[in-house]
């Protein structure tokens, strides 16, 4: 069909697109979490550890990982929502969570391999290319279809949430929490539900990532680095539109690969430097992201004149 390299890129775009979409389910409703690295890490490490040490099939391992992630999401989410921890307090509490996950993985180095990472024991014996029971496939095409299915399912969840009453409730909450509560919205429950959906989807993303790469490392599946990567990927693409997070994933990956092809490995951090600078510019001048801004420009061209802009409340220097 097509070469392995383009296929690999497409798999990565879809996989990260799916994970960023999962994050945006919360992020766009004002629940900016810096803790999704924890859920991804739980997914990746639970499956690999149960397989390596206890011989659990990743299918069973994935169920265990999802249960674990759900427990953590409730343990952190419920008190946060009950005690009205919002805005950047919520962001910082979840940031602590993602560091806890990373540090626990590193601290359990006798089992997890610490910061060196871990490799799932191979189940592909004697030239076999697929071991469905162990969720290991050497053929990238199989992975393409698996990841595509998850990505589509992620978009379906997004649409289902978008069309539900829950979305309206959450939007009301994100604008004015007290007012939403006063008209009978159960704030904590509504938030907890979307948090659970988002955390479970991210955990599943972690499982897929571990099984596709066949390598896990605490820094690439958990911790602040990966949590910020999710937040910024979603923002760069545009977290308020359905395909925005996927556009963000494609954009960041193509930027990194493009610069790598252009300059080789001479400037190892050039892509992240440019990316960091662009993020700052995006958040200042284009907070709706690439796709969000593009759609808005398209709409402004074809439809009525733009409404007057809201003036900012703070005095400028």
């Amino acid at each position: 069909m097509i070469g392995n390299y383009p296929l690999h890129l497409m798999i990565l775009v879809l996989l990260w697109g799916y994970i960023y979409t999962s994050w945006s389910l919360m992020g766009r409703l004002g629940l900016v979490s810096f803790g999704h690295g924890a859920f991804m890490g739980i997914g990746a490490y639970t499956v690999v550890m149960l397989w390596n040490h206890f011989g659990w099939s990743p299918w069973a391992g994935a169920l265990a990982a999802l249960a674990f992630a759900a427990a953590v999401a409730i343990l952190i989410g419920y008190p946060c929502f009950r005690f009205r921890i919002v805005g950047h307090y919520f962001a910082l509490v979840t940031l602590a969570l993602s560091e806890v996950a990373r540090l626990v993985i590193v601290a359990l180095r006798d089992q997890t391999g610490g910061s060196l990472g871990a490799t799932p024991n191979s189940a592909l014996h004697g030239g076999a290319t697929a071991a469905p029971g162990a969720l290991q496939f050497s053929d990238k095409q199989v992975w393409f279809w698996i990841v595509l299915a998850f990505w589509l399912a992620g978009l379906w969840v997004w649409r289902a949430v978008d069309r539900s009453m829950a979305r309206l409730a959450l939007q009301a909450i994100s604008e004015e929490e007290e007012a939403a509560a006063s008209i009978g919205i159960h704030v904590a429950r509504a938030k907890l539900r979307i948090t659970l959906i988002s955390a479970l989807m991210t955990c599943a993303g972690g499982v897929l990532y571990a099984q596709y790469q066949l390598y896990v490392n605490p820094d690439t599946v958990s911790g602040i680095g990966i949590s910020l990567q999710m937040v910024f990927g979603a923002i760069a693409g545009g977290m308020f539109v359905m395909l925005g997070p996927t556009v963000g994933a494609a954009f960041t990956l193509l930027l990194a690969e493009g610069l790598r092809l252009a300059f080789g490995n001479r400037y190892p951090a050039l892509d992240s430097t440019l990316y960091g600078a662009m993020l700052v510019l995006f958040i200042i001048y284009m907070p709706k992201g690439i796709l969000g801004a593009a759609l808005e420009a398209l709409r402004a061209r074809t439809a009525r004149p733009i409404a007057p802009r809201k003036s900012s409340g703070m005095p400028s220097a």
């Binding site: 969570l97 601290a107 430097t273």
Partner: protein, 288 residues
């Protein structure tokens, strides 16, 4: 088992020394938050820039160490002003979460730019201070110096804020942002001043850290999270709360690390932070 363990005492005292340093780091962040109402997620990356400044001026250009450190404080103060003018000011009227995120973008940028400019090698200043023995316990002099300088820095900041005219203006702005312009204080100018002060404190922290740790582009990640969490636990903007929280955190890290393993010390500290947030979301001495 002995009732009184000398090594436990050593861990507690080391925690005390670490606490002073962490208190200094959180002071700058708290000042910025109290005055401008913005969290500089990239605060630890500014510290990293300061550490590189000391390293290059001293090792490559053979400046005397104290001159290099003084220059580093100035450089980071200037970086703080640049950060405020070009990154924070445009988003002052935006959603609070955007202000958090934009400094997160700066974090990415500074970390990657440092990798690009300086490579990923760990760089050591090459200055070793002796270790001090006290009975069976030993302490690094670098930590003791850091502790004393941090306390002096905090005292200086306290006197500046409580005694000087500008310090009074800064405290006034952090109490009521809306009314002060009517009293003839220009918030914009105070914001710039606070950014410079916050940057200078980060620079001072950098001078103390570079004596104890090798500098590398990701070093910010080992201090950054703990610094925000201290500020949040103490109550964002409350300098006294941050001071107390810094010592509590340092004990968790030091004693927890002594009893179990270094990472478990951090895990305990972070778990304690999360529990504290549920118990007192506004922080130890916070106001909401």
């Amino acid at each position: 088992m002995e009732v009184f363990d000398i090594f436990l005492l050593e861990a507690i005292l080391n925690g005390l020394l670490l606490g002073g340093l962490l208190a200094l780091l959180s002071l700058g962040l708290n000042l910025i938050f109290g005055v401008i109402d913005v969290v500089w997620i990239c605060y630890a990356e500014l510290i990293m820039c300061g550490m590189y400044a000391v390293y290059y001026l001293h090792v490559q250009y053979h400046w005397p160490l104290l001159a290099a450190m003084a220059a580093a404080v100035v450089i980071v103060a200037v970086l703080g002003v640049i950060l405020h003018q070009f990154v924070i000011r445009p988003v002052l009227g935006a959603e609070p979460i955007n202000q958090l995120l934009v400094t997160g973008g700066v974090l990415f940028f500074l970390q990657a730019a440092a990798t690009l400019a300086f490579g990923i090698e760990f760089r050591n200043l090459g200055v070793t201070l002796p270790s001090i023995r006290l009975g069976e316990m030993s302490f690094s002099a670098a930590r003791l110096v850091a502790f004393c300088v941090a306390l002096a820095g905090m005292l200086g900041m306290y006197l500046f804020l409580s005694r000087s005219y500008l310090g009074t203006a800064i405290r006034a702005i952090s109490q009521d942002r809306a009314i002060m312009p009517l009293m003839g204080v220009s918030p914009a100018r105070i914001f710039v001043l606070a950014s410079a002060l916050g940057g200078a404190l980060a620079g001072l922290g950098a001078c103390l850290l570079v004596l104890q740790y090798d500098v590398h582009p990701a070093i910010g990640l080992s201090f950054g999270p703990i610094t925000f969490l201290i500020c949040v636990m103490g109550g964002l903007g409350s300098m006294a709360g941050g001071f107390i929280a810094a010592f509590v955190f340092a004990q968790f890290i030091s004693v927890g690390g002594f009893l179990f393993h270094l990472e478990w010390g951090y895990v305990l500290a972070f778990a304690f932070f999360i529990a504290m947030m549920f118990w007192r979301p506004q922080g130890i001495l916070g106001r909401r």
